[in-house]
Symmetry: C2
Subunit: 169 residues, 2 copies
């Protein structure tokens, strides 16, 4: 993209619902581009569900052509079986942008909430409200899409610092 604008896709992985949100960043200015939710079929075999997730993500990446990706690192109290399933969706969510050569950053859920709301223990509704405050044109239709936009905003705030750290190594 021209003029120093960086397009970022944020992703909130889940096997039932994966949220995505695309923003443009120019300096400190954030502009909403698009957001949505991918819903793989729930009653299909695991492989088929993951293929639907991968195909959906590839379509979004193709359509909006982001340059960088950021994925939320959810760490919830779940049983090992649920954690494994979330991991499976997460693997596909990391693979899709990385397969197109995009750098993929990961951010802990606490950091995402702190970056967007100012508090790590924020409720989902607060995240959604702050997204509307930060980007008035944003109209995430689901909490997952709002969370994905929050991850993109977090990456917009942290990518400069990360680039400096990389340059210093």
């Amino acid at each position: 993209m021209d003029n120093g604008v960086i397009r970022i896709i944020g992703l909130d992985p889940g096997l039932r619902r994966t949220g995505w949100g695309v923003i443009d960043v120019l300096g400190t200015r954030l502009t909403y581009v698009a957001s949505g939710t991918i819903l793989p079929p729930e009653d299909a075999p695991m492989g088929v569900r993951l293929v639907a997730l991968h195909t959906g993500l590839c379509e979004v990446l193709e359509r909006f052509a982001p340059q960088e990706a950021a994925v939320e690192e959810t760490f919830v109290n779940m049983n090992p079986s649920s954690t494994l399933k979330l991991g499976q969706a997460r693997g596909v969510v990391l693979l899709a942008p990385a397969g197109r050569g995009l750098p993929v950053a990961e951010y802990a859920a606490l950091l995402v909430k702190k970056s967007v709301v100012g508090a790590g223990r924020a409720e989902k509704a607060q995240v959604r409200m702050m997204i509307s405050v930060l980007m008035p044109k944003a109209a995430p239709e689901t909490e997952d899409a709002a969370d994905a936009l929050a991850v993109a905003v977090t990456h917009a705030h942290h990518r400069g610092a990360a680039a400096l750290r990389r340059a210093a190594v």
Copy 2:
């Protein structure tokens, strides 16, 4: 494949090492075709590691063209962070064959050991030895490749029963 031969790929997923093993099945006769281990770079970012795993799997699937896939469902006592990482690798391992339209079966590790060795608590060395007994030409170079062949053998034993159950629904 002609003559009623079914080619099966077994997969033992792991982020550091993913084992694979291909066998041909004709009735109760099992024939070793090939096996190996995919080793994604350990020091790369997660997205890059998953892309290397996916690319390696796609090459194996392209080369040996199996018709059915079977993946081991490992359930070990791990911390949630390790479980999530295993899940990420597992998601990619399920995606690769499903993305080519192959049916992908999943088998619990206990069932795999019971099918091959006759005991659910078998050691890895016993699994490896039994693979050599069942298929004298098999020369799995790693434990992961031997485990993958064991998953393929398990699927060979159970696929008929599963097809009957599906037909009865």
